[in-house]
């Protein structure tokens, strides 16, 4: 589903690379933790997948498409295949939960009855049924992140990227969030979650890809898992 082939990424000419010769293959339906200390290149990987940035060298393939050859007008199509969730939720503060989620469908041109059907369905997926009328500031952090997940999933993308989705949450809430991602993954969605929360990684025992200063230092599938060292920093 997502392939990195010898990918090097520099933000500016002459910078030390944020990613260096990274080779990763993520299959359809995988659940992958991308771990590493702050600044190790996790977010950069995410940015390359949604073409927020382009690789300096090497190829990134998403859903069979070589991103370096994707014409500009096809970039939105790519992004519709990839849902994204961030540490800071990025909800629209003036809109209710329902409106935040419906917004995605509206900008993608969905019909009203599709919206009326999909939004409650997605709220249920993240366990927020009945909270559609709330404004973001009337929700806890964990609930806000669930809204963000619902927004990312409402148009049913085959890939979900989560960049430190638990970074602002307490350990218990974090586990709930990852459990939701796990549930989404079980319905066939490929999930890539960047995190430096070792407790979570060790607990959920998924495939782990580890970066250190932009270099891939570990890629262990679910079966051959070894605990991630306590301190990543």
């Amino acid at each position: 589903m997502i392939t990195f082939e010898n990918v090097t990424m520099r933000y500016a000419k002459g910078d030390t690379p944020a990613l260096q010769s990274v080779d990763v293959e993520i299959g359809r339906g995988d659940f992958v933790f991308v771990v590493g200390a702050s600044g190790s290149g996790k977010s950069t990987m995410m940015r390359l997948i949604i073409l927020e940035k382009e690789a300096t060298q090497g190829r990134v393939l998403v859903a069979g498409k070589d991103l370096s050859r994707l014409p500009n007008r096809k970039v939105p199509g790519l992004r519709r295949q990839v849902g994204t969730v961030f540490q800071d939720f990025r909800l629209l503060s003036g809109k209710t939960v329902h409106q935040n989620i419906a917004y995605v469908l509206q900008v993608l041109g969905a019909r009203r009855h599709t919206i009326r059907q999909l939004v409650p369905e997605t709220l249920e997926l993240v366990g927020l049924q009945g909270k559609g009328k709330r404004l973001p500031h009337e929700l806890s952090g964990g609930e806000q992140q669930r809204v963000a997940i619902a927004r990312a999933m409402v148009n049913k993308p085959p890939i979900l990227l989560a960049d430190e989705p638990t970074g602002n949450l307490d350990p218990e809430t974090s586990q709930e969030i990852v459990a939701i991602l796990d549930r989404i993954n079980r319905t066939g969605t490929t999930v890539v979650m960047a995190t430096h929360d070792t407790t979570i990684v060790n607990r959920f025992r998924k495939r782990v890809v580890q970066l250190r200063d932009g270099v891939l230092v570990r890629d262990q599938a679910e079966g051959e898992y070894e605990a991630v060292e306590e301190r990543l920093v």
Partner: protein, 307 residues
């Protein structure tokens, strides 16, 4: 993207940036007002040309007793014999002259008194100082030189005057007005372009969260850009509407009303532009407004609203 959603977005944008919206409306209004004034002045020139070039006359002024300093008038006022000689000459220029008529000293004085009825100049001018004349309507107004040279310096003729020269002076003036107005319009259009791109930059900034989410979920460039574009087009169209209103008031009350009364009273001049001429240039103004909005937005959006 559905229409209802689009209008919702546009409404939000307008509410958030009302002052910038008003600024764009006003700047567009002023730009198009100048552009419209320039175009109307040009049309005024064309209308007057059509009207006057058919009607302008060559006036052959005859000697008065006072005009002895002109060589051909050395003998004082024009004599009966000289006048008849001139009549004969005019008859012989059959192909060039459409018609001609004689205006006596009394008639000329009457007309003069009528024109300057409100002026104190009137009392200081004796009737003798107003020359009698032949008024010549040319078959082809461009052949003025031929007629002028035939009579310039002839005995009993003080001077030959082509009204076209007078009218041309007016045209030169109107052309200058037209050019200045268009020049000002150009400067204002530059202001409008700068203001619109600044507005789009600010609007983009105030809407960056929404735009960001649109980008992330894969909205097309069209979806992201259209609300900005619609807002700008609305603003410039409103500006165009206001400028047309102003131009209409100017034509209706300024030119058709005031100027026509003034000029018709003094010179019998007609052929001024009216509201009809405004409707002719309306599509240019509206088209200009849309073009201004679309081109500027397109450039600004490419720079400030990344997709």
């Amino acid at each position: 993207m559905r229409a209802g959603f689009l209008f919702g977005e546009v409404g939000n944008g307008l509410r958030r940036n009302t002052s910038m919206f008003v600024a764009v409306v006003l700047v567009t209004m002023v730009s198009l007002f100048f552009l419209g004034s320039g175009l109307l002045a040009q049309r005024q020139v064309d209308t007057l040309k059509g009207y006057w070039y058919d009607k302008v006359q060559v006036s052959i002024f005859l000697c008065t007793p006072d005009s002895t300093d002109v060589a051909s008038c050395a003998g004082g006022g024009v004599t009966e014999v000289q006048r008849e000689g001139l009549t004969g000459d005019l008859d012989r220029l059959d192909g060039l002259v459409e018609e001609y008529w004689y205006e006596s000293n009394e008639q000329a004085y009457e007309r003069f008194r009528e024109q300057f009825r409100n002026s104190p100049v009137l009392d200081s001018i004796p009737q003798d100082a107003i020359p009698e004349s032949f008024r010549v309507q040319l078959a082809d107004p461009t052949k003025y030189e031929v007629v002028a040279s035939a009579f310039e310096g002839a005995p009993g003729v003080e001077s030959v005057e082509d009204q076209r020269e007078v009218v041309d002076r007016l045209f030169t003036f109107l052309n200058a007005v037209s050019l200045s107005a268009v020049g000002l319009a150009a400067a204002m259009v530059v202001c409008a372009v700068l203001l619109i791109s600044t507005t789009i930059r600010l609007t983009a900034w105030s809407r960056r969260r929404e735009t960001n989410i649109m980008r992330l979920v894969g909205a097309s460039a069209f979806t992201i850009h259209t609300p900005f574009l619609v807002e700008t087009v609305l603003a410039t169209l409103l500006g165009a509407g206001l400028s047309i209103g102003l131009l209409w008031a100017m034509v209706q009350y300024g030119i058709s009303g005031f100027l026509t009364d003034l000029l018709a009273g003094q010179t019998g001049m007609i052929g001024l532009i009216g509201p009809r001429d405004l409707w002719v240039i309306t599509p240019i103004l509206v088209g200009g407004a849309v073009l201004l909005a679309v081109v500027t937005s397109w450039l600004a959006l490419r720079r400030h609203v990344r997709v």
